[in-house]
């Protein structure tokens, strides 16, 4: 899929003869190099998980948060350049609080996704700005129930049942497609997401990783929060067990 866009790839305001904007595609490559991020929509909510690759043994566990709350009812998991991700999250938080102060209710997830996507797209229109080097999975619970959106560096945003970005996205997508999401509760979903992340983690190329998960569901009272510690432990144990079973075959 990769091709060198010699000459047409110097600026985000240049099209190539075959109608591609190479800078945006290169930005997407930055996302593909980061740890896998998965989101799934279960019967009663959303579960998001991040494979946080540990670059240094001296890093404190629990630092380098990749999943952020954007408002009470929604959260965002970021893949790609972390600093770019911080900017997008800050913008999303500001959009959400602004909507609430004007309209008096929590921002609908569809609206939030549109605003974030517009903002990301904005940075692909001017030559003095570079596109964001990060993709974002946005999960939330509003009046219309739980919803999951993904925003790419090009500014595209679609709604999904299950989405994956980062290194292991192809493998993760295959695994997600095997799940029966419409019958799954979030409790079960947490276990499944952990299993998938452990599965797609490439032991050869990257050494250690830390699993970070969050959910918005009926059990969490439609608030976005980190998955409770005991459930997270249960998920990790189940995931490791599933891996060993696979290796044993």
């Amino acid at each position: 899929m990769s091709s060198i866009g010699t000459g047409y790839d110097l600026s985000v305001t240049t099209f190539s003869p075959d109608g591609r904007v190479f800078q945006i595609e290169y930005a997407a490559k930055a996302v593909d190099n980061s740890g896998t991020v998965i989101g799934i929509k279960c019967k009663d909510g959303i579960v998001m998980g991040v494979e946080k690759l540990i670059t240094s043994k001296m890093m404190l566990p629990g630092s380098n948060r990749r999943i952020h709350s954007v408002h009470r009812h929604s959260g965002m998991a970021v893949a790609g350049l972390a600093a770019d991700g911080r900017q997008i999250v800050a913008r999303a938080k500001s959009e959400a609080t602004n909507y609430e102060s004007v309209y008096g209710e929590a921002i609908p997830i569809k609206e939030l996704a549109q605003r974030v996507a517009s903002y990301v797209h904005l940075c692909t229109l001017y030559w003095w700005l570079r596109p964001f080097g990060c993709g974002v999975i946005l999960g939330g619970y509003d009046r219309d129930g739980p919803q999951l959106y993904m925003v790419e560096p090009s500014g595209i945003s679609y709604r999904y049942f299950g989405a994956a970005i980062g290194k292991g996205k192809q493998a993760a997508k295959t695994e997600i497609e095997k799940l029966k999401l419409s019958e799954m509760t979030c409790r079960e979903g947490v276990i499944e997401v952990a299993k998938i992340i452990y599965k797609v983690h490439d032991e050869a190329k990257d050494k250690a990783f830390e699993l970070e998960m969050s959910w918005v569901c009926d059990e969490s009272k439609q608030q976005h929060q980190k998955v409770p510690d005991d459930l997270l432990e249960e998920a990790k144990v189940a995931a490791r067990a599933a891996l060993e079973e696979m290796d044993a075959d």
């Binding site: 948060r65 952020h68 709350s69 954007v70 408002h71 938080k93 609080t97 102060s101 929060q225 980190k226």
Partner: protein
Amino acid sequence: MNFIASKQPENRLLGPESDTQRTLYPYVTGTSVVALKYKDGILMAADMGGSYGSTLRYKSVERMKPIGKHSLLGASGEISDFQEILRYLDELILYDNMWDDGNSLGPKEVHNYLTRVMYNRRNKFNPLWNSLVLGGVKNGQTYLGMVNMIGVNFEDNHVATGFGNHLARPILRQEWHENLSFEDGVKLLEKCMRVLLYRDRSAVNKLQIAKITEEGVTISQPYSLKTYWEFSAFENPAQGAIGSW
């Protein structure tokens, strides 16, 4: 911007011809709030009246609200300013929650934030016309503070606003002691609220008592106090009255 003759006067103290607005007087007001520290936390009482001048117009105004996990805010004065303060605090608590770092704002922090807001507005001659009572418990520490529209703030074992300062606090000074039980605390608050009901013309006989402990906030359902009007001096009040002509 400098070329256009600006209609906006620089001086905010100018009278009616200035475009800027500032609070001059309150419209819908709540009367006293009384609060005290007890064994497990804070007890706070406020009636549910919203007066429009001398009319007791609104009778179901909730003047006490929980703030975050650890605090309870009671307000007297302009109700719309109270609602605005609740919005500021809502945003404050939301941003605090989004950090998700295991820490949350306690009553002392919220009280300090409110003091800054109230004092800064007063300095711009645009006050939020309220007297606020902020109580809470965090990590076993009980805190009770007050801040009013001119920015005066302090912390004490029992506080009151408005008429409560004159009628309730003397009772509390006599009868408050450390480690009150819940029942004794409620009895003491009801005693204060009854005096206020008899003597404060903007009091209504429909009140709520709120309690905040380490576990959380509970605000009671509205109820009424029993009053006694059979004093002999009230019998046949017109007896000694002499006609004016």
